[in-house]
Symmetry: C2
Subunit: 270 residues, 2 copies
């Protein structure tokens, strides 16, 4: 089964377009958890257990774990291991390096963490992506148009025919021989999202920015999905995992995840 | 002291432009080391001890350690800790992510690993770079024109005035208010290197590709240095650290490092 088929199946089976982002910051987790011997993992396990019913995917941002060195990597591995079967595991690593190094990164995310998909930066070109694309079951979401203010600096660079983010979308579409490529497109750019969807009707999108970053949920769903209504995952991190800062954090995250899933599905039907 | 001043001082004091790249692959280290409880660290320590005399800097490629999960990160931390004072420590991480995530990455490389500098991908723009640039003592080398074949895919994208890699060079020059920015420019592109040096005369370059990748050492030195002869570090990884695959590996690495340093200095004087 290709990554694309796996994604479609999970979205349909779980009736969810939601990706819950585990950008777990030790300073933002409830105080009572900070004395736990493994606070990042304890928090993540509670969040995963409380939200997995409503999530098609979990996206784990590796930076938040690397900041704690080897202990952080241990928390990262345990977090991936406790994401239930039938839910996609995405390593949000935004890597990109030359061939022999890329092979090592691919090993880190697909073999050590057993992730289903990874985010990559395409700047270094095809040989930096190839080691991640060999296995059709493993997916890659390439950075296309990101949700942050700095997306203005280089991503709109224009050769008179296309902007750089459009050139990346078209090139990634050419790399999609194994049906395992996708794009990261921020919900903070709904009009551009519509344009990218028309350029590459078949690629799945990972769409961050609908939560704390203030992206437009309705327009993102309207413009981001493909014609089968399964071509995108919508990520919310902080608005779900930090919905409450006290003992009720897992229950609050569960409600926030359910509400977000429902809002996505409702918009989809409009 | 700014990062730029630190770099200049070390190059002058050690009379070396050499950066030794610790891209340590467990499959390539001598067999007798593979039974060591910490084979990556044991190898690195021997290489560092044998080559530090000839190296202005060590560049540690984080991918090669992440591939081994928490144990790999432990080897990474111990490797950074045993690089002697008076030699630059560069974390070759090629990171790039939005502001709140970038802060975590900056913490990982500057606080946990105590690196002097890091490599970053500029694609996500200024807010992704800002957390790394706050401390003038810590340097950032941004990917400009990379040494691999895939550099052709996006880096030459042209807006009619500049190619993308030139636009990145000019923009990074604007971010250099703390005198701590630099660029990664591959030795495999000597003519472009000359062009970039004339665009940004003051930025230091990290130049990979002079060893196993077959870049042109003489032209890279001729075109890459600034007018003071201190504006670049030349990285060699595989040609030095795997100079021999048997018990004499450290001695062979020492000779290869000395020869490379001497070749760089000789070319500099021509």
């Amino acid at each position: 089964m290709t990554f694309r088929e796996k994604l479609t199946n999970i979205i349909k089976k779980k009736q969810s377009l939601l990706c819950v982002g585990l950008d777990t910051d030790i300073e933002k987790i409830p105080d009572f958890l900070k004395s736990d011997p493994e606070p990042l993992f304890a928090f993540n396990k509670a969040i995963i257990d409380a939200t997995a019913e409503y999530a098609a995917a979990f996206k784990v941002n590796t930076a938040f774990y690397e900041a704690y060195g080897a202990a952080g990597w241990s928390a990262l591995e345990k977090t991936f291991a406790c994401i239930p079967a039938g839910t996609l595991k995405i390593a949000d690593a935004k890597r990109g390096d030359i061939g022999n190094t890329a092979k090592m990164y691919a090993k880190a995310v697909f073999e050590k963490l057993k992730a289903d998909a990874v985010t990559l930066n395409a700047y270094m070109g095809k040989d930096s992506a190839a080691p991640f694309l060999q296995d059709p079951e493993k997916g890659v979401f390439f950075l296309c148009l990101t949700s942050n203010p700095g997306s203005q600096d280089f991503q709109y660079f224009n050769d008179g025919k296309h902007k750089l983010y459009e050139r990346i979308a078209l090139t990634v579409n050419e790399w999609n021989g194994n049906s395992n490529c996708g794009l990261v497109v921020g919900a903070t750019h709904p009009e551009e999202l519509r344009g990218i969807r028309s350029l590459v009707p078949g690629l799945p999108f990972l769409i961050p920015g609908i939560g704390a970053q203030g992206g437009d949920l309705e327009k993102s769903v309207q413009y981001g999905l493909d014609e089968n209504g399964t071509g995108a995952l919508f990520n919310s991190s902080r608005a779900i995992i930090y919905a409450s800062g006290d003992k009720s954090f897992a229950r609050a995250a569960s409600i926030a995840a359910k509400d977000t899933r429902d809002a996505l599905n409702k918009t989809k039907r409009i």
